[in-house]
Symmetry: C2
Subunit: 255 residues, 2 copies
């Protein structure tokens, strides 16, 4: 089975020219099949504000009314995605930007309005791994925006971590998948104030212990839950690391 590396980077990295260029340089150097999933929330918030549209977040998630859906469609599907695609082409990487609506590759359903009405936010229902795998096999480097669709004409705003996890699971049938979540720190830390305290390997049992000890807390918990879920669904390896380190064999590994 061929290897596939899926890199997920958040908005902060892809929205600043310097960090974006560094990321694209590093990504272009990665050997073998690869796929990039990006966020773009900061740009969306900024452009929404310029358009007089207020951003409302609940538990760190964007409430997406019709006006905000137009903004994220523009920003994620257009501005961020196409700038990345053009930047990768410059580096000789044959990129293809996609939303979940393109080729119906990621179908979702609108999240129920209860208990919280997030508006046009989608929970992934079905990923067409075969259609993605076929393009990857032809050396297309897919760049996935955090947008899905409901099959009924509506685009849906979808968390980029979820997009990456769902793509990884669907592609695990076709490739030996390594899923890399980039974030601000070098990995999951034993001591959040010490960047040298990266936990290099994490088992689910370790995870439960660290949670009980409150060494792992907050937003890292759902991220790691997703990671273990991906492993159970056939993903070979999940890595949590800093965007600067994607080419290195560092960070926290879950296998």
């Amino acid at each position: 089975m061929e290897k596939l590396t899926i890199i997920k980077v958040g908005g902060k990295i892809v929205e600043e020219p310097d960090t974006l260029n560094r990321l694209l340089d590093d990504f272009a150097q990665l050997q073998g099949f690869k796929l990039l999933v990006h966020g773009g929330g900061r740009s969306a918030t900024k452009i929404a504000a310029q358009l007089g549209i207020e951003t409302q977040m609940i538990d760190g998630r964007r409430v997406t009314d019709e006006a905000m859906l137009r903004v994220v469609t523009m920003v994620y599907g257009g501005l961020v995605n196409k700038q990345i695609v053009a930047g990768l082409q410059k580096r000789g990487v044959n990129a293809l930007g996609l939303t979940g609506a393109d080729m119906n590759c990621m179908l979702a359903e609108k999240r129920p309005a209860q208990p919280v009405d997030y508006g046009f936010v989608g929970d992934v229902k079905k990923v067409d791994g075969a259609v993605l795998a076929d393009l990857i096999d032809k050396n297309k480097v897919l760049v996935l925006a955090p947008l899905t669709h409901d099959g009924n004409g509506n685009l849906l705003n979808t968390n980029a971590d979820t997009i990456a996890g769902e793509a990884a699971k669907a592609l695990a049938e076709f490739f030996e998948v390594t899923l890399v979540f980039c974030f601000e720190k070098k990995g999951v830390l034993r001591d959040e104030n010490n960047e040298d305290s990266v936990i290099s390997h994490l088992t689910e049992k370790d995870f439960e212990n660290y949670k009980a000890q409150k060494i792992i807390s907050g937003g890292m918990i759902p991220k790691l839950q997703n990671a273990f879920e991906a492993i159970k669904a056939g993903v070979r390896r999940v890595v949590i690391t800093k965007a600067d380190d994607i080419g290195k064999n560092s960070g926290t590994k879950i296998e």
Copy 2:
């Protein structure tokens, strides 16, 4: 050789929900292989204005500085393109939205700053007909945004008529191509005040005569020049018609 219909629709049609839905209904009904090229200038102008960016047109063409490039990347590549893609998926059409940067399918060069500096505007240099044909053969319905790239990391704003013409020429090697330009009238008119005066067939000789008689003038001249150029490059047929009539055998035909 299989038949391929390429439809080009301007911004006015795709930017109003009613006319867009009608177009997508009609487009979904078209038999055989098909491809859609869209504009989006009116939305770009509107959103630019909301962002405090002034639109400057010279001879009907948009001057595209860096700020305007961001706007057209958002609007053409994101908002308009992805809404069309989602709308086609709803209708069972397996659409895939592309800019020229995606899969390097349409490489352009920045237009020289002399005699007029249009900024980030691209003249198409090379279309990868094989990569487009391969997707079309697999029943993907390509939706092309009027954006190309220069291979050096820059997206470029490119006239949608040009995108349609260049795609048609590149695909003529693989398909029997009919290229349909939609505009506000039922076709090229003998009398611009009479919608029943459509010239049903137009030869290059007729065109020269009509030009001399000023029956054909203004923006129709470059459109028809493009049409004859496409025919010479192997496109089977060019049709100029109203968007409402794309499924009908009407309008002005050039063969």
